[in-house]
């Protein structure tokens, strides 16, 4: 995604889950950082008005619209062992492309296409999933949280390598492997103005936008 593009993720069924990772397209050593995203905004979930921080104090993308209301940044991906334990073992030999795929392996395959790998696999965002944490720290995945047709709009503030995997949430309780699809739509966005709700959400985000716009000073066609 080039900066200035809005990517809309549209859930194609109830309780969809779309795992997402973000890297600076020019220098992928700069990547999405869960902790910095949460700490800067004092949040443990993502929704409109929130931004997604890299580990370099810059904003990879902003959430400019959200009809779902809560996206999980805490729980990570499924791995092969979890998929087998919950849904059973499958192989391409028998199931062909209906085989069950873990989030970790799907991400490792896509990362490998860009010279990245296991060491680059950081904590991801799980769009369309809501995980509530009680006072003792226990986590619970809300069921019936997302509905078909709900969407979230990501406005990219940096040129970003985006990895998505539509697959089960790691805390899912269903024993049927039935990932919901996600439809993607991209469009051009107006650059974020001085009164942009993501920029004005908190002083931290105002500084994050300054850091980001400095990266692109003098860039051809710079939106900042």
């Amino acid at each position: 995604m080039r900066r200035g593009i809005v990517l809309r993720l549209i859930a194609q069924g109830e309780d969809a889950n779309v795992a997402a990772l973000f890297y600076n397209r020019e220098q992928p050593l700069e990547r999405y950082n869960m902790a910095d995203t949460l700490k800067a905004q004092h949040i443990a979930h993502l929704t409109s008005g929130c931004v997604v921080y890299s580990d370099m104090g810059r904003i990879l993308c902003s959430i400019v619209a959200d009809t779902c209301g809560w996206h999980d940044p805490l729980c990570g991906l499924t791995d092969a062992q979890l998929i087998v334990e919950r849904y059973g073992a499958t192989r391409f030999q028998e199931q062909r492309n209906q085989r069950f795929v873990s989030g970790r392996e799907a991400m490792l395959v896509e990362l490998g296409k860009y010279g990245l790998g296991e060491r680059d696999l950081v904590a991801n965002i799980n769009f369309f999933s809501k995980v509530v944490v009680d006072d003792d720290g226990a986590m619970r995945l809300a069921t019936g949280h997302s509905l078909a047709g709900q969407y979230v709009d990501l406005r990219f503030e940096m040129d970003t390598l985006v990895l998505l995997h539509a697959g089960p949430h790691p805390l899912g309780t269903s024993t049927t492997y039935a990932p919901r699809g996600v439809q993607l739509q991209a469009r051009r966005a107006a650059p974020p103005g001085a009164d942009d709700p993501c920029r004005t959400r908190c002083p931290e985000n105002a500084r994050g936008f300054i850091n980001t716009e400095r990266l692109y000073l003098g860039a051809t066609g710079s939106a900042g």
Partner: protein
């Protein structure tokens, strides 16, 4: 109760310094919050293959709970048990708050804070000094989500993150049993902008014991 008299190693780590060491499987490792409410940013690696490291996500998934305490098994990114918390006189440790960096300090506090010392700088300095078993040097790629021992970072049911008053105190400690040969990387946090440590970073003590 393990006593200092038989410790295989016993070191005081000043505030703002990194510490790196190796635990053999079966060894016990203690971190002491000497003066209270000190953040101890910690990462663990498979000593033989550092691409395998502590994973906050695997760990909280498995226990379906975000806080770490006695009984928690620290899992790697490959789902393998690395260490178990066997004793904890603090009661709760954070693994979502990450490590401070120069860059995140510019966002969280002020653009002009970039010069200030940070955990990530300590981590990178320790990695630069480290000559591991592999020919591949460790870099920023090898800094995933860490543990903040003695830090209290509650998540509310409404999905907010708070930086609450510390629940640790002088002399509290956490003991870990190594379930594999483990490389330990610590930054004794130098953060001066956050009330979590009362704006006063203090020393920690790290100790190891051989299996009985």
């Amino acid at each position: 109760m393990i006593g200092p008299a038989v410790a295989a190693s016993d070191e005081l780590v000043p505030a703002g310094e990194p510490w790196m060491g190796t635990l053999r499987r079966g060894q016990k490792f203690r971190i002491v919050d000497v003066e209270g409410n000190q953040a101890v940013d910690t990462l663990f690696y498979n000593a033989d293959d550092t691409a395998e490291h502590y994973s906050a996500q695997n760990t909280i998934q498995a226990q379906q709970r975000i806080y770490l305490t006695a009984g928690t098994v620290l899992l790697s990114n490959r789902g393998q048990p690395m260490l178990r918390i066997v004793e904890d006189t603090c009661g709760r440790h954070d693994t979502l708050g990450g490590a401070c960096s120069s860059e995140s300090n510019t966002v969280r506090y002020a653009l002009g804070k970039r010069y200030m010392h940070s955990c990530r700088d300590s981590f990178l300095l320790a990695l630069a000094r480290h000559r591991g078993p592999s020919e591949v040097g460790m870099t920023k790629r090898d800094l995933p989500s860490n543990i903040n021992f003695f830090m209290n970072v509650p998540v509310t049911p409404a999905g907010q993150l708070r930086f609450a008053d510390g629940i640790s105190a002088a002399g509290r400690h956490v003991d870990l049993l190594a379930l594999m040969d483990t490389l330990v990387l610590i930054s004794n946090c130098p953060q001066l902008n956050n009330p979590c440590n009362a704006y006063d970073p203090t020393p920690i003590r790290v100790m190891t014991w051989d299996p009985a």
